[in-house]
Symmetry: C2
Subunit: 316 residues, 2 copies
Amino acid sequence: MDVLSERRFPIGKLKLLATSRSAGKQVKFNNEILTIEETKPDSFQGVDIALFAGGSASKEFAQDAVKAGAIVIDNSNNFRMDPSVPLVVPEVNPEDVKWHNGIIANPNCSTIQMAVVLKPLHDAAGISRVVVSTYQAVSGAGAEAIEELREQSRDILAGKEANPQVFPHQIAFNVIPHLDVFLENDYTKEEMKMVNETKKILGDDTVAVTATTVRAPVVNGHSEAINVQLKNELLPDDARKLLAKSPGILVIDTPKNNEYPLPVAANGRDEVFVGRIRRDETVEFGLNLWVVADNLRKGAATNAVQIAELLTKGML
Amino acid sequence: MDVLSERRFPIGKLKLLATSRSAGKQVKFNNEILTIEETKPDSFQGVDIALFAGGSASKEFAQDAVKAGAIVIDNSNNFRMDPSVPLVVPEVNPEDVKWHNGIIANPNCSTIQMAVVLKPLHDAAGISRVVVSTYQAVSGAGAEAIEELREQSRDILAGKEANPQVFPHQIAFNVIPHLDVFLENDYTKEEMKMVNETKKILGDDTVAVTATTVRAPVVNGHSEAINVQLKNELLPDDARKLLAKSPGILVIDTPKNNEYPLPVAANGRDEVFVGRIRRDETVEFGLNLWVVADNLRKGAATNAVQIAELLTKGML
């Protein structure tokens, strides 16, 4: 709702839907007081665009919304790899919204910020392989996760034991190499999202990605150490220039002044921040990059609203 | 001193040397009270093994110690890449202590834990390339750094601003892709230590390493996401078995039980912990690993005392 308001998204009427638990609550939007309603199969009559957040919501109601004539933009993992559903990062593959069949999927947060940066590099020099390690904020796991980090930090500073509830282990003053569930191949689902969604967004199955995703005791803002093997030469200076003029990207890369992207600085921003751009001498054409973004904004809400903006432009 | 005591290192007399600031202070070792003396050029008469910590100490006094007949084990960066000085991780290249000329260098903390794990893989299948991203604890930057993390965490939890003194930016609830100074090639000195020291310890200049080193708000215990390209096939199960029987390594790799190495669990331990071992399908023979160790112990004190143990064995 903040992003819709800030970007002055053209809204005739905003309808807020949630579970029965939240129904009846009042929320301010711009200068209006809106009341949350319980989501029901017939809630979507007259709705043009339905923004879904949360995995169970779209599983239960996305088809109802589509039947009622709404276009669903879904932030969950339910439809992302469905071949009949476009997976869209507006800076990367905006044209993919055109072939939707009622549902457009919003990618995984850590994938979005990586795809925004990989796209110009791929167009310029061809990406053959990516090795990525993430430093992911707790906000991606919800409000209770933020509270858990704060509470555990307080407890440990006071000499008490941590009491993990949301995360499988202590998250305060620790890092945990485990997001989402483990799969048959011993990768986590989060890691395989980065592998598979990146190919779909870039529209190129030959882009090989291997990932290690790690939760860090950061409140908000995901960071990624990305190693890229290219097919053709792209020098760091040229990569810097190319990325600086690419949509949605801010290059912060002045090491001598200690200037590089930081999660606390990306918090509350809509751009993807890139720095520490340097040549990887261990392969013919290699680059190392450090990429940071606000996972709740560009990694979720902002990207979803940008998709909605593409739709309104198409409707005009 | 804790490590010397715990490992029952054979000591005739322990002499404690420091700057004039600490001289006169009394410290307990086993059941004895020892008085710290100011280091002077003639302090090393009768000393067999001199353990140096801190960069300025060995720059000023290492040669005096050598002249007095002591063998210096130096934890600083001063002599590590000197071709006349062995750089030793006892699990990896113990035989290198033999060719010392009075000084033996203790490698960088993040390099030690990686080398312990790479060595058996290199012997079994040949390593061609390593991409490593680190998650490094603040303890590596000293006691003031630990206090800074605690104080900043308290301040931020209380709604105050962070006040960075030791680190270039806020470290609490943040990650900083910057350890040590930046070099001409835009890598940090810490990153190039991992590149160059690894080759020297493994005794193989063909092992190509590229690194991104990152400070995380962890009190103690460095973590590393390591991607390894091998020359020959080594399946994850075989790597697990191989590493489990290799010296100094504990394999913790049962994802279905949420068991993998964690810095809070490695804190206070001397082993190098390895988990998240899985095949990297993006190259012919690739592995991903997650490696954690206590950077003050295996990354510094324990490794230095292990080198001293090699010397005492040689002296017997």
